[in-house]
C-alpha cells in the first residue's frame, strides 16, 4: 500500500502546499479518491486549500447540526446559527453568488467558491457519510461529476484549490479557481 501511495504522491504530492489544513482520515481518503479519479481522467491534481477546507468543514457541520436544508432550501443553504450570513439556496440558483462568496466571507480566500454536497439519511443515527459513498454519489450524478472532472459547463474551469469536509451524514467539497 505504501509504495502505491508513494507513486501517487510522487506524481502529485510534492506539488501540494497544505500548511494549516487539517483533514480527518476519512476526509483525507475523499481527497485522495477525488485526485485518483481526476488522474484517471487525465486531469491535474488540485492543491488542498486550508481556507476552502475550513469552509467545507464548517458547512458540513452546519448542515448536520442545524439542518438548513429544509423545505425549499437545499443543501447549499446555511443556517442562522453561526458567524456567517444565513442563506436559503433554492433550486433556481438565484442565490449562487452568495455561495460563491462564502469563502471570502469566512476566510482570506478571495476567489469564488463552488460547492458539491452529498448526504445520507437513515438509521442508526447519526448515519455517517464516508469517502467511498461520497465519490460514488457524485460520480453517479452527471452534474456533480462534471464539476469534479471539469466537463460540460465546468470544462473551462481550472481548479487551483479544493477543500474537503465530512461531518456525520454530510460531505462537502469546495472548488476554487484561485490558488491559495
Amino acid at each position: 500500500m505504501k509504495k502505491y501511495f508513494f507513486w501517487v504522491f510522487l506524481t502529485f504530492g510534492l506539488l501540494f502546499s497544505t500548511f494549516g489544513q487539517t483533514l480527518s482520515p476519512e476526509e483525507q481518503k475523499l481527497y485522495d479518491l477525488i485526485m485518483q479519479y481526476r488522474r484517471e481522467m487525465g486531469l491535474p491534481p488540485i492543491p488542498l486549500s486550508p481556507s476552502l477546507t475550513f469552509v467545507a468543514k464548517t458547512h458540513a457541520k452546519d448542515l448536520a447540526e442545524n439542518r438548513p436544508d429544509q423545505g425549499s432550501c437545499n443543501a447549499h443553504s446555511w443556517s442562522d446559527k453561526g458567524n456567517w450570513t444565513p442563506m436559503c439556496y433554492s433550486d433556481d440558483h438565484k442565490q449562487k453568488e452568495k455561495m460563491w462568496s462564502k469563502p471570502s466571507e469566512l476566510t482570506n480566500y478571495k476567489g469564488k467558491g463552488f460547492e458539491i454536497v452529498t448526504m445520507v439519511y437513515g438509521r442508526p443515527t447519526p448515519v455517517y457519510m464516508n469517502a467511498t459513498m461520497a465519490i460514488k454519489s457524485w460520480k453517479g450524478s452527471s452534474s456533480h461529476n462534471a464539476v469534479i472532472i471539469n466537463s460540460g459547463m465546468w470544462k473551462s474551469s481550472k481548479w487551483q484549490a479544493i477543500g474537503i469536509g465530512i461531518y456525520k451524514g454530510y460531505a462537502c467539497v469546495w472548488f476554487g479557481e484561485e490558488a491559495e
Binding site: F5, F6, F9, F19, L33, D69, P124, V127, S141
Partner: protein, 466 residues
C-alpha cells in the same frame, strides 16, 4: 515458618504477575519525530499531518531556514529515486539511537532496514542527519515540548491497558526480546508497524501511531478504537517477512485474487498484489488474536474483511485454527507457511467471489418504477424489497442522480417490516408536479449476518400535477 510461607506466596504471586504482564508505555520518540520532521520539510504528504496546528506550525517555523539543507535535498532525491517514503522512513528511524550523536543501534541484524534503503544510502543519510541534528539543534526543539509529549503519552495509556503482548511470540512461535514499543508520531498521517531483527534472531516490534483528534487545547485524544490498529501494526512485524519468503509461490494466485477486487483494494489504497498478501496475512492473524481475547468479534471481523475484498480470509482464518491446534507439529507460523501456500493454490477466486456475492444482500423490488410519472403526492410510501432477511436496525438513503435539489423530505415513519425483515418502507412528503431523485446505497443496508447489499438502487420519478 509462617514468615517463609508469606514470603514464598509473595514471590509466587509476583512472578506470576510479572510473567503475565508486559508493561508497554507509549512514547513520543525523538528519532521518529526527527525523521518525520525531515520528511515533512521535504514536503512528503504522508508526514504532513496538521492535526496539532500549534505544534506543527512551531516546527515549521523552527526548520524554515533549513528547507534547502543538504539533508532535505538528499531526502527529496532518495524519495524520488528509491521510494523512501511512508514505512521506509519509520523503519530507518527505529534502527537509530541518539546519544552524543545519532548512530545505528548496535544489536540489529544488518540488512533488515526496509528494503528500499541500501547500505550506501543508509550511511550517507546518517552522516547528513547528524549534521542536520546539530545545525538545527533539533534536540532543543524536542526537549522544549517535553510537557506536551508527556500529556500525549499519558492519554495514550488507556488504549494499551488491555493489549496482550504475550500472545504475539506465543502465536507466531518466535523469540521476542519482550520489547513492544508504542510510539506516538505527532507529524505523520499513517500508522506503521516496523520491527528490528536482532542479531540473535529475536525481534523488537513497534506500533507507530499518528494523531487525528485533539481537545480544545490541542492535546491529542486517543480512543479505545485504536487497540485493533495497534494489534494490526504489531502483527505486520511478525508476518510481512513470511509473505516475503513465499512471495514467489503466492504471487501467481495472488494476482487472480487481486483482479476481481482491484477497485475495492484501490479504495483502501492497496495498489499491489504484494500489499494485499501482507494485509490478508495480518488480518487473519488479528482475527486469531480476537478469537483468543474477544471471540464475539470474530464473525464481525471476518465479514468486514470479506467485504473489504479479502476473498479467502475465512479459509485462511480456518487454516490458522489448524495451526493453532497443532503447535506440537508446527512450532512456528513460518513452519506452517507451506500449508498456507497449498491452501491458496487450491482456492478459486472466482468461486469465492460468487459465494461472497451470494451472501451479500440484493435489492429485488421497488414499489414504484424508476422513471415513473404521475406518482401521487402528499404522504407517499415507497417500499424496497430485499432478497433475504435484513438487519432492521440500519438503512440509508442518499441524493439521487439529480442531486440535492431533488431529494424528498422523509418522515420518521420510515422503517422495516418487522415480520419479513425483507421490506423497507420509506415514507416521504411529496409536492405535486415535481421531480424527485434519490438512491438507496447498498452499503447502508446490511443482511442479518452483516454483509452489505451490492450496488446502489437509484430512483427518479415525477409527481402528478395538482
Amino acid at each position: 515458618m509462617k514468615k517463609y510461607f508469606i514470603l514464598l506466596a509473595y514471590l509466587v504471586i509476583s512472578m506470576t504477575v510479572s510473567a503475565q504482564t508486559v508493561r508497554v508505555k507509549a512514547v513520543v520518540d525523538e528519532r521518529t519525530e526527527l525523521l518525520s520532521a525531515v520528511f515533512r520539510t521535504v514536503g512528503a504528504e504522508e508526514y504532513r499531518n496538521n492535526t496539532l496546528k500549534k505544534y506543527t506550525s512551531e516546527l515549521d517555523s523552527y526548520l524554515l531556514e533549513f528547507k534547502q539543507d543538504t539533508l532535505i535535498r538528499y531526502a527529496r532525491q532518495i524519495r524520488k529515486s528509491n521510494g523512501i517514503a511512508f514505512d521506509a522512513i519509520m523503519s530507518y528511524a527505529v534502527h537509530l539511537e541518539i546519544t552524543d550523536s545519532i548512530r545505528f543501534i548496535s544489536q540489529y541484524k544488518p540488512g533488515t532496514i526496509d528494503e528500499r534503503w541500501n547500505p550506501e544510502m543508509e550511511q550517507h543519510f546518517l552522516d547528513l542527519l547528524n549534521e542536520f541534528y546539530i545545525k538545527t539543534n533539533f534536540h532543543n526543539f524536542y526537549t522544549s515540548h517535553a510537557n506536551f509529549y508527556t500529556e500525549a503519552e499519558y492519554r495514550f495509556q488507556d488504549v494499551l491497558k488491555d493489549v496482550d503482548y504475550e500472545w504475539f511470540p506465543e502465536f507466531f512461535g518466535v523469540k521476542s526480546d519482550g520489547s513492544f514499543s508504542v510510539i506516538i508520531s505527532l507529524l505523520n498521517r499513517g500508522n506503521y508497524g516496523p520491527s528490528i531483527l536482532n542479531a540473535d534472531g529475536s525481534k523488537k516490534v513497534y506500533s507507530i501511531n499518528g494523531v487525528y483528534r485533539t481537545d480544545s487545547l490541542e492535546i491529542p485524544i486517543f480512543g479505545k478504537g485504536l487497540e485493533p490498529i495497534i494489534i494490526h501494526e504489531f502483527t505486520h512485524s511478525f508476518t510481512n517477512h513470511l509473505v516475503n519468503l513465499y512471495t514467489d509461490q503466492l504471487i501467481k494466485k495472488g494476482k487472480k485474487f487481486f483482479k476481481p477486487v482491484q477497485s475495492i483494494m484501490a479504495q483502501q489504497a492497496y495498489g499491489t498484489v504484494q500489499t494485499m498478501l501482507y494485509e490478508i496475512m495480518v488480518r487473519s492473524c488479528v482475527i486469531q488474536y480476537y478469537k483468543d481475547h474477544d471471540s464475539s468479534m470474530v464473525q464481525k471481523y471476518l465479514t468486514d474483511e470479506l467485504s473489504n475484498g479479502f476473498l479467502w480470509i475465512k479459509e485462511l482464518y480456518g487454516l490458522l485454527n489448524v495451526y493453532d491446534n497443532n503447535r506440537a507439529q508446527y512450532a512456528t507460523l513460518e513452519q506452517f507457511m507451506p500449508e498456507i501456500v497449498k491452501l491458496q493454490k487450491s482456492l478459486s477466486p472466482r468461486k469465492l467471489k460468487r459465494e461472497y456475492e451470494k451472501q451479500c444482500g440484493a435489492f429485488v423490488g421497488l414499489s414504484i418504477r424508476d422513471g415513473s410519472d404521475e406518482v401521487p403526492y402528499d404522504t407517499v410510501k415507497i417500499t424496497v424489497t430485499f432478497a433475504q432477511p435484513m438487519n432492521i436496525g440500519t438503512y440509508g438513503i442518499s441524493y439521487g442522480k439529480k442531486g440535492e435539489s431533488f431529494f424528498p423530505k422523509f418522515l420518521e415513519q420510515s422503517g422495516w417490516d418487522p415480520e419479513t425483515k425483507t421490506k423497507f418502507t420509506a415514507t416521504m412528503v411529496l409536492e405535486p408536479g415535481k421531480s424527485y431523485s434519490l438512491c438507496f446505497p447498498g452499503q447502508f443496508f446490511l443482511t442479518k449476518t452483516g454483509f452489505p447489499v451490492e450496488g446502489i438502487l437509484y430512483l427518479d420519478f415525477n409527481t402528478a400535477k395538482k
